[in-house]
């Protein structure tokens, strides 16, 4: 039997980020899809119902929390602990490129060998990097849509996306990226938790992972 030791990996701020980010994405997708396609049409919209108004209100509030969470994660990219820093998991070093390839093979059931990482493996890390990058685009496009008369967001938004309608189009496409990401993320996390006894899921609650002791 291999012996395991308990290691502190995820800081409080990172866990706060995660538990703001994840529910806000869920809420943003549900309310965003309603804004996109108000399927209750007018049968809910009457003298004392404000379905669209409520959906937009919740969407914007969740959007604010989402934006703050992303900003916190960006800070941790540079000032977080060793596992949270961006160069720990991006395939920019030889070690991380090797890890990326071996993780891909491992996930494809082509090999059982893989390098255990306390932080993110390079594949997950790359996906998260990409996701945070898109999240920045999403909140900029969202803020551009929300403040169409604010000079700062108008110049930033029109430089990045073009017109309001183009920004809205990108905002909508990215909605599907986040929906897809949420599904794949949950699937892979559960898969890993079943395959490896490192306590992956509980680590995002208490911050600790279990690491095989070199013996």
């Amino acid at each position: 039997m291999a012996a395991y030791e308990k290691k502190y990996v995820w800081s409080v701020l990172l866990r706060l980020f995660h538990w703001t980010f994840a529910p806000s994405i869920f809420i943003l997708i549900v309310t965003g899809l309603y804004i996109h396609w108000p399927w209750t049409n007018t049968w809910l919209e009457g003298s004392h119902q404000f379905t669209m108004a409520v959906m937009r209100w919740i969407h914007f509030i969740a959007g604010m929390l989402f934006t703050c969470a992303v900003l916190a994660r960006l800070y941790l990219w540079f000032f977080g602990n060793k596992y949270e820093k961006v160069w720990d998991f991006l395939p920019i070093t030889g070690r991380n490129v090797k890890n990326l390839i071996s993780t891909l093979l491992y996930y494809a059931y082509l090999t059982d060998h893989h390098e255990e990482r306390l932080g993110h493996n390079a594949l997950a890390g790359t996906a998260y990097f990409f996701t945070i990058f898109l999240a920045v685009l999403q909140f900029i496009s969202g803020l551009y849509l929300l403040y169409p008369e604010n000079g700062f967001f108008v110049s930033l938004g029109s430089a990045l996306f073009g017109t309001q309608q183009e920004a809205r189009f990108i905002h909508y496409i990215l909605n599907w990226y986040f929906a897809w990401f949420a599904l794949v993320h949950i699937y892979i996390v559960v898969w890993n938790d079943i395959k490896n006894p490192e306590g992956l899921i509980s680590s995002i609650f208490d911050g600790y992972k279990f690491h095989k002791k070199e013996s």
């Binding site: 404000f50 604010m64 703050c68 800070y75």
Partner: protein, 359 residues
């Protein structure tokens, strides 16, 4: 002033342009494709004009007024040219006994469209509205016998109107409460839009039947949609921006009139689309909420006109965007504090241990 036949200002002829314009508006109002315009125009120019008998009971003549005083003279002339108005109390030159004879003659000829304006009192044998010694109920029943179809114009004729407001002292009702065996179409409104009356008549002339209606007997093409759903102030409603009082900043900025009593969310009519008086206005566009005048019993159910049900919660309070901004600023503050604590702890640790903290 010469008020001999029809009102002085209304020309008897219609320009071709005005004629086609009115036909096109009516066709669009009926929800028919533009290919139908020639058909409608053809039906409208049929020399065999349908005979119309127009009765007035408990009313203010506002419906006739709005029809004939439409700033667009072509519309009034068109309606008057479209139909052979064999009897209309306010407009006819004849009076007294002569007028009564005209009505009798028109009824004898039969097969006319009966237009009713005004409510019909039923209480105490109908004594509260009498013309030439006969009660409104008697006149209506007599005139309905030989009518091909009945159009109830205005909310009074359709559902009883203002005199039917609680406690309804005269027992006023609409036509459909009295006449059960004839096709009746209601064109309610206080007053109704003349275009909707014209379109109903044109529909009848074009298709030789009355248009499909909703459960209150109103033509669907005109009363099938909620006022609220076509209102130009709707974006303000969705955004949560309301006039709180007449004349306040929100009112001057053209915000939604919901909180000053607009009944658009409960009212079915095409007012925001068709608009009135040829100058493209309707109540909401000039800053007054909708009173719901096309709905049955609106005097009872829509009053007070300038109030909403108390304590209706509107999300966001100050407006969706403003409220989200406030929460966003607070969240940003909390994030900044969290980051500051994180950084502070890191620096303190490094100072304490003299090395870079790993975890």
């Amino acid at each position: 002033m010469n008020r001999s036949l029809f009102l002085g200002g209304i020309p008897k002829t219609v320009s071709r342009r005005g004629f086609l314009r009115a036909c096109a508006i009516a066709t669009a109002a009926m929800g028919l494709p533009m290919e139908m315009v020639p058909k409608v125009a053809q039906a409208a120019s049929d020399p065999k004009r349908p005979s119309v008998v127009w009765l007035h009971f408990q009313e203010c003549t506002g419906c006739s007024e709005s029809l004939l005083r439409a700033s667009h003279p072509d519309l009034a002339s068109l309606i008057l040219n479209l139909i052979s108005l064999d009897y209309h109390e306010t407009l006819s030159a004849a009076a007294g006994k002569q007028a009564e004879e005209n009505l009798e003659k028109a009824i004898e000829r039969g097969n006319y469209v009966l237009v009713v304006e005004g409510g019909i009192p039923l209480k105490d044998g109908g004594v509260y509205c009498k013309i030439g010694g006969k009660t409104a109920v008697e006149i209506l029943k007599r005139a309905a016998e030989k009518a091909a179809a009945i159009i109830a114009i205005g909310t009074c004729a359709a559902y009883g109107g203002v005199q039917a407001a609680k406690p309804n002292p005269t027992g006023a009702v609409g036509v459909s409460e009295v006449i059960k065996d004839k096709p009746i179409i209601n064109v309610p409104g206080c007053p109704p839009n003349p275009h909707n009356f014209l379109s109903t008549v044109l529909y009848y002339l074009t298709f030789k039947k009355l248009p499909p209606t909703d459960k209150f007997g109103r033509p669907l093409f005109a009363y099938g949609r909620k006022v609220h759903d076509h209102c130009e102030r709707r974006p303000h409603f969705d955004e949560g921006r309301f006039a709180e009082r007449f004349g306040d900043v929100g009112h001057r900025l053209g915000f939604c009139l919901y909180k000053v009593g607009c009944k658009g969310p409960e009212t079915y009519s095409n007012c925001p689309v068709i608009r009135f008086n040829d100058v493209e206005v309707w109540p909401v566009s000039v800053g007054n909420g909708c009173y719901g005048c096309t709905e049955p019993n609106f005097w009872d159910t829509m009053t007070p006109f300038h109030k909403r049900l108390p304590n209706v919660k509107i999300p966001g309070g100050k407006g969706i965007q403003a409220s989200a901004t406030e929460i966003g600023k607070a969240a940003l503050g909390v994030t900044a504090a969290a980051v500051a604590i994180h950084a502070g702890v890191g620096i303190a640790k490094r100072l304490a241990t003299g090395s870079k903290s790993e975890e």
